[in-house]
C-alpha cells in the first residue's frame, strides 16, 4: 500500500481501474436496477440458426459462412507465406507452421503406436482440422462479431418465420387453399410468438442506456387479442375470406408498420412494475453481420462429417472391405447373435460420434458467445476481458479435442479385428 501511494503512476492506474469498475457496475445490468444502466443496450436476440445477411442471387449468405471464409483466408495466407519458399533453416511463418506440423507429427506417431511415420496417414487431416477449428473459433470472438448488425423489421421477421408455419399447416390441412394456409399461419404465428420481445429503437441505432427495458413484446407492436385471433381462425376454417376483415387488416397494417403501439408494463417479477413508453419507435431484431462459424451447426456438422467419413475411408483402406465391414456386419450364425448386436451398436457408434463431434464444438462455442454477451451486459467495458481470454483458451482446447478424437477414431478404425480380439482375450 505504501508503495502504491508513493508511486504516482501506480496510483493513477489504480484509480483508473477503480473508476472503470464503478462505471461498469453502474452502467451494466446491476446499475440498471437503480435507474442507471447507461451502458446497457438491449440484449441481442439469441438465435441458434445462423442469420441470413444477404442474398447472392437466390443463395442466402449466412453471417457464419462469411466468418468461415474469413478465417479460411487468414489460414491460407499464413500457409502460403509459410510454404512458398521452404528452407532447411526455417524463418518467419515457416517456423510457425513447422511447429504445428511437427507437434502433430509427433502426436499422430505416438497415438498410432510408435514407429516413425506410423501415423503419417492421419497427419494431414488431423492438423488441418485443428488449424481450421482454431482459426474459426478465434475469428468468431473478435469484437464486433455477433454485436454489429442490421435491424430486421417486424415485416421481415414475419416473412422469415411464416414459412415453417405454413409448411406445418399445409400438412395438417391439405385441402386448404394457399391463401387460407397463409392467413392461418399468420394467426398461429402471432398466437405462438405474441410474447416474444423486440427491440425498440429510433430507426437508426439501438440506444445505449435503455437496457433490458427496451424490449417490447410483439403484442404491443401488433395489437390483437386472443379472442380476435380465435374468431379469425374460425372464419378462415369456415372458408370465409378474411382479407377485408377489419381485424385482419389491422394486423397486416401493424406488421407492415412495425412500430410500438402503446405504453406497456414490463413484469420484473414481484410488485416492481414500471410503465415504459416507447410509443412510435420502430421495433425489430438485431441481425449480426458476422457470426463465428463454429456457432453454426452447419459448420460443425460439415467438419464432423468430413472427419468421420475419412475415418471410414482409413478403416476400409487399412483392413479392406471385408475386414473393416466385418466390424459392423457380423454373421449371427458363425459368431453368435451377441456379436451381431455388438456390430450393429458399433455402426450406430460411428453415427453417434458424428453427432457428438457436431454438438461438442457447437455447444462450447455457442455457449462462449452467449457468455461474452452476458458479461458485456453485466459488467460492460471490463467484464468481458477475462472471458475473452477464457474463450481464446476454449477455442484451442475444442480444436485440439476435435483433432485428437478424429485421430483416436482413425487409429481405432485401422486396428484390425484380430488385434482387438487377442487384446480382449488377454483379460
Amino acid at each position: 500500500m505504501g508503495k502504491l501511494l508513493s508511486s504516482p503512476k501506480l496510483l493513477v492506474i489504480a484509480i483508473a481501474a477503480i473508476v472503470a469498475l464503478l462505471v461498469s457496475v453502474g452502467g451494466g445490468a446491476l446499475g440498471a436496477s437503480f435507474g442507471l444502466g447507461f451502458l446497457g443496450g438491449p440484449i441481442p436476440f439469441i438465435s441458434i440458426p445462423a442469420e441470413r445477411v444477404a442474398y447472392i442471387g437466390s443463395y442466402p449468405l449466412l453471417n457464419s459462412t462469411i466468418m468461415f471464409w474469413f478465417g479460411g483466408i487468414i489460414l491460407l495466407f499464413v500457409a502460403w507465406r509459410a510454404g512458398r519458399n521452404v528452407k532447411d533453416v526455417p524463418s518467419g511463418w515457416q517456423n510457425f507452421m513447422e511447429a504445428i506440423y511437427e507437434f502433430f507429427s509427433g502426436t499422430v506417431d505416438g497415438v498410432a503406436g510408435g514407429g516413425a511415420k506410423s501415423g503419417r496417414r492421419f497427419l494431414a487431416l488431423v492438423s488441418t482440422i485443428f488449424m481450421v477449428v482454431v482459426i474459426i473459433n478465434w475469428v468468431g470472438i473478435l469484437p464486433g462479431v455477433g454485436s454489429v448488425g442490421r435491424i430486421e423489421t417486424i415485416d421481415e421477421w414475419v416473412h422469415h418465420h411464416i414459412h415453417a408455419v405454413e409448411e406445418a399447416e399445409r400438412e395438417s390441412h391439405p385441402d386448404y387453399s394457399d391463401k387460407q394456409i397463409h392467413q392461418l399461419a399468420l394467426i398461429h404465428l402471432l398466437e405462438e410468438h405474441g410474447n416474444d420481445t423486440f427491440v425498440a429503437f429510433d430507426g437508426n441505432f439501438i440506444p445505449l442506456g435503455q437496457g433490458e427495458q427496451a424490449r417490447v413484446p410483439l403484442h404491443n407492436i401488433v395489437t390483437f387479442t386472443d379472442k380476435e385471433l380465435d374468431d379469425l381462425a374460425k372464419k378462415v376454417k369456415n372458408d370465409e375470406d378474411v382479407s377485408d376483415d377489419p381485424v385482419y387488416e389491422r394486423i397486416e397494417h401493424d406488421i407492415h408498420e412495425g412500430v410500438v403501439k402503446d405504453v406497456f408494463t414490463y413484469d420484473e417479477g414481484g410488485s416492481n412494475e414500471t410503465e415504459y413508453n416507447f410509443t412510435g419507435q420502430t421495433a425489430g431484431l438485431l441481425v449480426p453481420y458476422l457470426r463465428g462459424a463454429s456457432t453454426d451447426i452447419n459448420t460443425t456438422l460439415a467438419i464432423a462429417i468430413v472427419a468421420m467419413f475419412t475415418v471410414q475411408l482409413w478403416g476400409f483402406r487399412a483392413l479392406g472391405v471385408r475386414g473393416y465391414g466385418g466390424k459392423f456386419l457380423v454373421n449371427p450364425i458363425k459368431q453368435g447373435p451377441i456379436a451381431t448386436f455388438v456390430g450393429i451398436l458399433e455402426a450406430f457408434g460411428e453415427l453417434t460420434r458424428t453427432i457428438s463431434f457436431t454438438f461438442r464444438l457447437f455447444g462450447n462455442m455457442f455457449a462462449g458467445e452467449i457468455l461474452l454477451i452476458a458479461m458485456a451486459f453485466l459488467l460492460p467495458l471490463i467484464g468481458i476481458i477475462p472471458f475473452m481470454g477464457l474463450e481464446l483458451f476454449v477455442g484451442v482446447i475444442q480444436a485440439y479435442i476435435f483433432a485428437m478424437l478424429t485421430l483416436v477414431f482413425g487409429v481405432m478404425a485401422v486396428a484390425s479385428h484380430g488385434d482387438h480380439d487377442s487384446h480382449a482375450g488377454g483379460h
Partner: protein, 166 residues
C-alpha cells in the same frame, strides 16, 4: 432440423469450403513443409552418421600417429645410446693409442738418452785417457815410454771409472 438451422444448402457450402481449405492447405503448406521436414530429418541422420565415421577415423589415425611417435622415440633412444657407446669406445681407443705413443716416445727418448750418455762417457773416457796420457807424458817425458806404461794407466783409469760408477 429447422430449429437448429441445419439446411442442405448451408451444410454443402461449409462442406465444400472445408474441403477446398483442406486441399489448399495441403498444397500450400502441408506438402512442402512435410517434404522439407522429412528431407531435413534424412539429412540430419546422414550427417550424424558421417560425423560418427569421421570421429572413428580420427580416433584410429590418432592412435596410429601415437604408435608411430612411440616407435620413433624408442628408435631415437636407441640411436642416442649407440652413438654414446661409439663415442666412448672411440675415446677409449684414442686414449689408449695416445698413451702407447707417449710411452713409446718416452721409451725411445730414454734409450736415446742412455745411448747418448754411454757415448758421452766413452768419449769422456777416451778424452780423459788421452789427457791423462798427455799429462803423464809431460810429467814423465823421457822417462817413460808410452808403450810400456800405457797398460798401467789403463788399469788405473779402469779402477777410477768403476769407483765412480759405484
Amino acid at each position: 432440423m429447422d430449429a437448429l438451422g441445419i439446411t442442405v444448402q448451408q451444410l454443402l457450402t461449409q462442406l465444400v469450403s472445408f474441403l477446398i481449405l483442406f486441399f489448399m492447405l495441403y498444397k500450400l503448406a502441408y506438402g512442402p513443409i512435410m517434404g522439407m521436414l522429412d528431407s531435413r530429418a534424412q539429412k540430419i541422420k546422414e550427417s550424424l552418421e558421417a560425423a560418427e565415421t569421421a570421429r572413428l577415423e580420427a580416433a584410429s589415425s590418432a592412435e596410429r600417429v601415437e604408435a608411430e611417435i612411440a616407435q620413433a622415440r624408442v628408435e631415437g633412444q636407441k640411436i642416442v645410446v649407440e652413438a654414446r657407446d661409439a663415442a666412448s669406445k672411440l675415446r677409449e681407443q684414442e686414449q689408449g693409442r695416445a698413451r702407447g705413443e707417449v710411452e713409446s716416445m718416452l721409451e725411445r727418448a730414454r734409450t736415446e738418452i742412455a745411448r747418448e750418455k754411454e757415448a758421452a762417457v766413452e768419449e769422456v773416457r777416451k778424452e780423459f785417457a788421452g789427457l791423462a796420457i798427455t799429462a803423464a807424458e809431460r810429467i814423465v817425458e823421457g822417462t817413460l815410454d808410452a808403450e810400456s806404461h800405457s797398460g798401467l794407466i789403463d788399469k788405473v783409469l779402469e779402477e777410477g771409472l768403476s769407483e765412480r760408477k759405484n
